[in-house]
Amino acid sequence: MTDLDDIDRALLRTLRKDAEQSASQLGRKVGLSQPATWRRIRALEAAGILTGRRLVLDAEKIGFGVTVFLGVKLATKGRVSLDDFERAVTAIREVQTVEHVLGLYDYRLRVVARDLADFERVLRRRIMTLPGVGNVEANVLLSEERRPGPI
């Protein structure tokens, strides 16, 4: 998809910040009528560029005070063990994201917990017991910012 124009880009930038705006509110911001805005959003969805919405919550206020990024190395490899590992790791509720990566580690996980003691429980009882799991490196998140990106 390289045939996006400036208005499409402006729509994407605006929606990434706030996806709850109506088509008429959005249209006013980018200088389009409500129906024209609606058509463009539909087209961006049909092209697979806009894939959905995400609720933005203050994790700390809900009681999840700790976020940890884990690098996981598998001890044993082979197709079967990857499938087993992925099936088991995605079922853990505290695990928010799972990425299969190339490099120092095999998987990158984002894990939330109530506090460090709770994180230790998740790590010991859920992560370290995953099938095929080897070395694990943990880094505790201090701050995070999402950037607009090259749109």
Binding site: L12, D18, G52, F64, Q96, N139, P148
Partner: protein, 151 residues
């Protein structure tokens, strides 16, 4: 601070943020009026911060996704500030996180292809100040990415 009804409401909304109010209220077992009042309160308390659109970088033509794990030279007094300021000016950087651990900062970088990545890496990333060490993980597959909280 959050009671069971709040959690139930947020859980259903998190699973499907585009859900219309009557439908959401029905799933949470509340009247639409009560559900709306609760969501209003959660917004006022800063628990519910809003919704953001999810963009598929692949569909936008950014086929490559690399996670850069950076250690900084902490003997430089403004190492973090200078590095973060520089990283914010690189459009292809879509996420910036700081950590407590072996890794100081993580940059999430998107690129069109390997040639484009090499260009960003050499011209922009490596010229960022105070880098002591840098490791890269290239994403092969995203297995789970909903980023939902285990409410």
């Amino acid at each position: 601070m959050l009671d069971d009804l709040d959690r139930r409401l947020l859980r259903h909304l998190q699973a499907d943020p585009a859900l219309p109010m009557p439908e959401l209220a029905d799933r949470a077992g509340l009247s639409p009026g009560r559900a709306a009042r609760r969501l209003e309160r959660l917004r006022a308390e800063g628990v519910l911060l809003g919704q953001e659109a999810v963009v598929d970088w692949h569909a936008l033509g950014f086929a490559l996704h690399v996670s850069l794990r950076v250690s900084l030279d902490k003997t430089a007094p403004r190492a973090f500030d200078d590095f973060l300021e520089g990283a914010r000016n690189i459009p292809e950087v879509i996420e910036i996180q700081t950590f407590l651990g072996r890794v100081d900062v993580r940059l999430s970088v998107v690129a069109r292809d390997l040639g484009h990545y090499q260009q960003i890496y050499r011209a922009r990333i490596l010229s960022l100040p105070h880098i002591a060490d840098i490791e890269s993980l290239m994403t092969v597959a995203v297995v789970k990415s909903d980023e939902e909280l285990p409410l």
